[in-house]
């Protein structure tokens, strides 16, 4: 049983999706508990796996699908599932956030998508399957398949939003398919030269014997560009803001924190495991371009967020700028930069999740999130408002929260690599987020005079229901907890996950 733990992480939500779709014919109300239990099993398995990993000596757990295995001189045959320090962290983050989002979304789905809950939750579970699959797989073609499973279900989840969401979803589909196809083409180039698709086999072959191969290099570029299109990296970010803004609340809350971050993980996995840091450092042109693009991405995301009036769209442009942080950090290709990038995947998943959950709470009660209509929000929904302020503080990078530490590592990395434009972009984006925070405080707290002092005039308290508020608070408090336990996270997991990087 314990031997088969890794496969349960992917299998549980997959079966959850299938059973949710099937049982719904018999009794539609059953689909939500079925999906929830699937996600819970997945969460438990990933949690147990972390302990198993900490106790194991090699720091890596392999699982062969269908009992195929190491065939000696033929290398590894069949699809392999690999869990190491890097992806065990991300697996846990994905399972926790998807579980909390499922609890969070039950009420809003009942209201927004009445009568369609069963299909929605089946797709929800399928999307989580795809994301977990991308994270756990040890095979680059399998990664493509899971990427498309996640992408196809997310197109449908976004299109549930009606109205403009159809067009937004269509644009995402075109961009996402292009990214996936480029990735597949890159896999083809790698396969021509190596004859294997297993990440472990590739990591033995490419850095040692195929350093100079042109085909492998083209494959590298294609895979990276494909991953960039999937994660909405500048200049391929156009689809993201509309897609996530017009999606239903629940889809937005699930997609925004997870979909793009998992693509970033896939990119980092290709960079550090399949190709090795040496390889990245030996292609300085791409490194310079990637760093420049990430700086532009950060600035574009931040400046566009300043021009928006809808809180949800602001949050979407934040994602564009946060993607720049992670890609930039990874491409700095030095120790603090990579640590910051991997840490920021976790931190940003939590921050974006908290932000979209808070927005979901406000949407649930007021029906809109236009900035200028949020006046007096503090008196109406005090807990939600405080959660929003904490989340924004984390996004800015105020010390006890996790946002500070990731930025600390990223700026340290930028300084070590001498990439000052990246450090500058990070600081400017922090400042812009601070401007937006103060705008929110101004509108939500100061614009309406304190009703307690006015005496006769009171604004009735109208918090979101507990099933939405509790997940929101858990994620918001986790931002501070992540910040406090940064040291454990970095030394026990992230430092072990990264390969040794040659000192400059």
């Amino acid at each position: 049983m314990i031997k088969h733990l890794p496969i349960f992480i992917v299998l549980a939500p997959l079966l959850g999706a299938v059973f949710a779709a099937l049982t719904s014919w018999y009794r539609p109300k059953l689909s939500f508990p079925v999906v929830l239990s699937g996600l819970f099993i997945s969460f438990l398995s990933s949690f147990c796996l972390i302990f198993k990993l900490l106790n194991s000596e090699s720091g890596i757990i392999h699982y062969q699908l269908g009992g195929w295995g190491d065939k000696g001189e033929y290398g590894i045959v069949g699809i392999q599932i690999t869990v190491d320090y890097l992806n065990s962290l991300i697996l846990t983050a994905v399972t926790i956030i998807s579980l909390l989002t499922a609890i969070f979304s039950s009420q809003s789905v009942n209201r927004e998508l009445a009568g369609q809950q069963r299909y929605f939750f089946a797709l929800f579970s399928l999307l989580v399957t795809g994301l977990l699959g991308i994270t756990i797989t040890g095979d680059i073609f399998n990664l493509y398949v899971f990427m498309e499973i996640a992408a196809l279900s997310s197109y449908a989840l976004i299109a549930y939003g009606k109205g403009r969401s159809y067009m937004a979803s269509f644009n995402y589909l075109i961009m996402g398919t292009m990214g996936a196809c480029l990735y597949l083409l890159g896999v083809g180039f790698v396969f021509v030269k190596t004859g294997t698709l297993n990440i472990e086999n590739l990591s033995l072959l490419i850095p040692q014997t195929l350093q100079a191969s042109q085909a492998v290099f083209v494959g590298f570029v294609l895979i990276i560009v494909g991953a960039w299109a999937k994660m909405a990296f500048f200049p391929m970010h156009g689809w993201l803001p509309n897609a996530y803004t017009y999606a239903p609340t629940a889809s937005g809350a699930l997609l925004a924190p997870l979909a793009t971050k998992v693509s970033v993980y896939a990119m980092i996995r290709i960079m550090i495991t399949v190709y090795s840091i040496d390889y990245v450092l030996k292609s300085p042109n791409i490194q310079t371009a990637a760093l420049l693009l990430s700086s532009i991405s950060i600035l574009v995301g931040s400046f566009f967020s300043l021009t928006q009036t809808n809180l949800r769209k602001i949050a979407c442009y934040f994602i564009v700028s946060e993607i720049g942080y992670m890609v930039g950090g990874a491409w700095l290709a030095n120790d603090p930069g990579l640590k910051g990038a991997v840490y920021h995947i976790i931190a940003d998943a939590a921050m974006t999740s908290a932000l979209f959950m808070v927005i979901g709470c406000i949407l649930f009660r007021t029906g809109q999130v236009e900035l200028k209509k949020l006046d007096g929000l503090f008196y109406k929904m005090p807990i939600t408002f405080i959660a929003l302020v904490i989340t924004m503080a984390a996004l800015i990078g105020v010390p006890p929260t996790c946002g500070f530490f990731s930025k600390f590592y990223l700026i340290q990395g930028a300084a070590q690599a001498g990439t000052w434009h990246f450090a500058g972009a990070l600081l400017i984006s922090s400042l812009i987020k601070a401007v937006i925070l103060f705008r929110i405080i101004e509108i939500g707290y100061n614009k309406v005079p304190n009703p307690a002092k006015e005496g006769n005039k009171t604004i009735p308290r109208d918090e979101a229901p507990l099933s939405m508020l509790i997940p929101t608070l858990i994620v918001t408090l986790s931002l501070i907890a992540l910040g406090i336990f940064t040291d454990t996270l970095i030394t026990d997991f992230i430092a072990k996950a990264l390969p040794e990087i040659p000192a400059p």
Binding site: A159, T177, M178, L185, G188, F191
Partner: protein
């Protein structure tokens, strides 16, 4: 001519992929974008099949008359089965994506009575 014939597959692949990519990115019509997507995927499928193919090679199934066994395969005389299996999966993914894309395009058409991107944008901002 001798340069072109051995690489003919790859030239077709490049032409197909560029046609598809251009159609996906530069065309304003949603259905043409979907068609471009399908062409792009076909190009990639052809690429994978081409890299697995060999001259005079047969299907990778052991038959009575074959002069090789499982433990001692005559690799020159069988095509690489892995690329073909990979492409089976990729075809399924491509069909599913095309289906979702066409369904979305149909929904957009119901809303705006048009497949043209500019017209839809005008409708949305009105």
């Amino acid at each position: 001519m001798e340069d072109i014939i051995p690489k003919f597959n790859y030239i077709v692949v490049v032409v197909l992929m560029m046609t598809g990519l251009w159609s996906m990115l530069a065309q304003g019509n949603l259905i043409k974008k979907c068609i471009g997507m399908a062409i792009f995927q076909t190009g990639i499928i052809l690429f994978f099949i081409s890299i697995g193919a060999k001259n005079d090679a047969l299907i990778p199934i052991l038959t009575e008359g074959a002069n090789h066994t499982f433990d001692n395969p005559n690799i020159d005389k069988v095509t690489n089965p892995l690329t073909q299996i990979l492409m089976l999966t990729a075809i399924v993914v491509g069909v599913a994506t095309l289906g979702v894309g066409l369904a979305l395009a149909q929904k957009v058409y119901q809303q705006h009575d048009s497949f043209d991107e500019d017209e839809i944008l005008n409708n949305q901002t009105k």
